[in-house]
Subunit: 565 residues, 2 copies
């Protein structure tokens, strides 16, 4: 009679490779139909049940090991369970055939030139080991997941202050100086550097670049949470700086799961200032445009690869943004007064991407909604065609009165440096908008040191005369543009964006010297590094106190330096 | 002494052009420094105050006209207020010089061939007049804003049932057969047709197409709310169908303010089936890709124009999607079982765009979150690398066990037609995934009539052997792809998407016959239509009961057919 038997081993630690191998060995035994070897989390209990290995009345205790056997008879199942220790011992003796240090300190003694520590032990032990590695002056590649956000923040702040990278937690992929860490494809070396808060993102893009005949300088993973507000892209920022200074990297690709909008804006500001062509793939991010200055927004992993490849050799063409601002200024804000709603939205979205904090009366732009559309705050973009402004009044495309009154009001604000306007020509619109706007613009520029830029939409056939409008506005000292992103680029350059980072840079040698690494956790990563020709030491790591949570706690209190692993 | 005086005229209706002209005439009087002529809404009272014309202790009554004078003395101000009637009369007699019908019915008698009615009277009167126009069998261009959503829905449903377009409310722009309605630029005629829930969006794109040397067949506005859930894109759908059948339209551009996701998905499904190359610019929408099948996603108005122009003459190259589905099927859902999180996200985003309703355990995809990741619902895409699946277990890139168990589970579901998998090669990954997956895939295909498609990520240098993996999967009957959007395109084609619309189509003659129109509201639109050579009649419209709200209400009850204007 088919039966399902199980055994629970409380508080025993084995790494996941051992568990997988045990499960496979059990399935291969005569009479065994299926087997499951898992830690006894609730999720794993549910999974066992859903995949045909239900066990009843078992309490979830995540620190316990659970071994489940489905067999043709109870005696076969019991016999299989009796084999467990023998199967585990077989595995152990194979691993013990070479000398392996049992601690990080011993590994450092054995390979002092190690510049990287790879950590893939269970999440609850990973933060403490990572801290230890950082204190030893090593960069950390932290593959482990289930590490708390608090631990991630603390580790990354420590790393930032000491010029060390903390790639992860949950960092699946990196390629450093030609050597793949974790999951990494074997790709040609070349001119494209990558920063990724997405492991398979890095894999898919590097693979596609290889297929397109080009190669990779370095690929730096950051862990999937790096661009969240709480972490603030510490690792991505360090990685970006490294690649910006790396002479072999011509083009940079930045890929991330959906970032926090403010973090995205400050990262884009930093990216913009590297001057290197940069392909941005913020997955699920509604990019404001396809290109602005040296930033190229891509929507898929495949497109990221294609655009990066197309940009090789074109670095000289990238518009390196100029900084017209010199230190803190009185007049630092822009005010956009638009008659066209969509033009206002598109402009606002561009400004939000590069400046971060913008206010508006428009929804759906990512900018903050103004409390009162009659009072501007900081950078503000207004659609004056919104209902509140047009009740019993002509649309601002026909009647400039309201907009001109608001222009005066904004220019009177001593914090305003720049006014943005749209001028839309065509049927139905004001017969000669420049005749009304230009004199006021001249006045505003002379009396208030406020600059004015205009987005001019119209054709040579429009009744207002496109050339005449253009000339009249330029004569008043206006910078005239015909698409929103040129206007945005101009505005950001006029205002300047301060990007400061006081932290010590990561030494470029981390990338350029040959890879020497200490691996703590999955042995498959050790094997992979060895095969790639890297110097690597495997630590025969065991959890403190054999994984006994209470004893660990006591040990941890006895040794507060955190060096107890 | 400078003084500000005002006069309130209760319940008097003038159109906005008259108010603007009155204000200008007042400002030109000797001794008058500034003047404001507005309906007494709270917003307008605030605006008067903010622009230097504050008046105290005035209650907001939106139906009242407010005239404010700032003058060098009280006597000058009073004198100016006394001129108001004379200035208004001057205006009236100019307008009265030609015969004008006072009602829509009289206008229809005068120009029975009129196919369009343009309506730009105040919002509170606009729905009733629009209804009347539809009942007379005319298409409506509804420029008025401040029309309720309920009225918009009712009008559009009526229009849809009768094959009539309701463009608006708040529709600023259209170009029908070369004639601009409302605000429209004068552009070359050509092969690009546009549908826009964004007036300045249409203006900016048509203008840019003109600058690029190409032209417009027709541009159809829908009003900014058309793609909201409540309205369901009724007008956009009619407009899309019209352009799909219009022989002069080779390429279609669809521009809209951020749409409701489900409305977007059903509109994209309809767009996909037209087979014509279609540029989509859903402003602020995080498009899943740059191109899939005949759909091209653009991020800015300028890019929309550039891509549309580039697509002219390439209609033959567009992949017209094939429908492999034939009527309702038992097996209709797909299940994606991914090891790479970003690959799962990208695939899900593509599927959401084209299928609408997809479930997932991933955040940030636009899909619905599964209640329980262990139980799939409808179309489901899972990242099996998520924490819940990996505690005490190897990552699915190394260990196929969990994924294979789930594959069997999904194949057992009689509603499942298609399984999607990723197979990621490279360092650290399983040494030969196809050797485990291919036999199971063969079994699943044979026993359950479930098809399988695989996204294969790897290079020719990867240790697993890319070609060998590829061949082994194909031999098991798998469709193999190397980028997510090819996988998505295949999946959507396999499943088929039902796009049905029972409503009668809008007669194509609406676009191809020469424009004859009735204009109710802004005279500038009448002037513009006349100048463009269209046949047009201006209605000398007055609100019922002279704008008296109570009397209007009584009249409306007396004449419930709504023909009382």
């Amino acid at each position: 009679m088919i039966t399902i038997q199980h055994e629970r081993r409380p508080g025993v630690y084995y790494d996941s490779v051992v568990l997988m191998q045990l499960q496979r060995a059990l399935v291969e035994l005569d009479g065994v139909m299926d087997a499951g070897v898992v830690m006894a989390t609730q999720a794993n209990l549910d999974l066992l049940e859903d995949t045909g290995l239900p066990i009843k009345d078992v309490e979830a205790r995540p620190e316990d090991l659970l071994i489940v056997i489905k067999a043709k008879s109870k005696s076969t199942a019991d016999e299989a369970l009796k084999q467990v220790d023998a199967l585990l011992t077989r595995r152990r003796s194979a691993a013990a055939s070479t000398y392996r240090p049992r601690s990080l300190d011993a590994a450092v003694d054995q390979l002092p030139q190690a510049n990287w520590v790879l950590i893939s032990i269970p999440g609850r032990y990973a933060a403490s080991v990572s801290r230890h590695a950082l204190e030893a002056g090593k960069h950390v590649f932290l593959y482990s997941d289930n590490v708390s956000l608090e631990d991630e923040i603390a580790l990354k702040h420590y790393g930032r202050e000491h010029g060390l990278l903390v790639m992860g937690p949950d960092c699946g992929t990196a390629i450093i100086n030609g050597v793949g860490f974790g999951f990494a494809n074997r790709v040609r070396r070349g001119a494209i550097g990558l920063v990724g808060a997405s492991g398979t993102g890095l894999q898919a893009i590097t693979t596609a670049i290889h297929h397109l005949g080009k190669g990779i300088s370095h690929a730096l993973g950051t862990g999937g949470r790096d661009l969240k507000r709480e972490v603030g892209a510490i690792c991505a920022r360090q990685a970006l700086d490294l690649l910006a200074h790396d002479p072999t990297t011509e083009v940079i690709v930045l890929v991330s799961k959906p970032p926090d909008p403010d973090v995205a804006a400050s990262l884009l500001a930093a990216a913009r200032q590297t001057g290197k062509p940069m392909v941005i793939n913020f997955i699920g991010y509604a990019a404001p445009t396809r290109q602005i200055d040296n930033l190229y927004f891509a929507q898929t992993l495949q497109e990221s690869a294609e655009r990066a490849v197309a940009l090789i050799g074109r670095a000289g063409n990238a518009t390196t943004p100029t900084h017209q601002s010199s230190g803190p200024q009185e007049r630092k804000y822009l005010r956009g007064l638009f008659s066209g709603g969509t033009l206002a939205i598109e402009t606002t979205r561009g400004l939000v991407a590069l400046l971060g904090n913008v206010h508006t009366n428009l929804s759906g732009t990512g900018a903050s909604l103004l409390d009162d559309p009659l009072v501007s705050q900081g950078h503000t973009v207004l659609d004056l065609g919104e209902d509140v402004f047009t009740v019993g009044r002509l649309h601002p495309m026909i009647d400039n009165d309201l907009r001109m009154r608001r222009m005066k009001q904004e220019a009177d604000d001593p914090q305003v440096a720049l006014l943005l306007l749209d001028v839309v020509l065509g049927e139905g619109a004001h017969p000669d908008p420049a005749s009304e706007l230009a004199p006021l613009i001249s006045e505003v520029r002379e009396q208030h040191q406020v600059e004015v830029a205009v987005l001019l939409i119209g054709t040579d056939e429009d009744p207002q005369g496109l050339d005449r409008q253009h000339e009249s506005l330029e004569a008043a000292g206006v910078a005239v543009f015909t698409d929103t992103m040129s206007l945005v680029s101009h505005a950001v350059a006029c205002l300047g964006v301060e990007v400061s980072d006081e932290a010590p840079p990561v030494n470029l040698e981390s990338l350029t010297s040959s890879v020497a690494a200490i691996n703590i956790g999955l042995e498959t990563f050790y094997d992979s590094l060895s095969e790639q020709g890297a110097e690597v030491v495997q630590v025969d790591w065991r959890p403190p106190a054999g994984g006994d949570e209470r004893l660990m706690d006591i040990l941890s209190k006895m040794n507060s330096s955190g060096k107890n692993e």
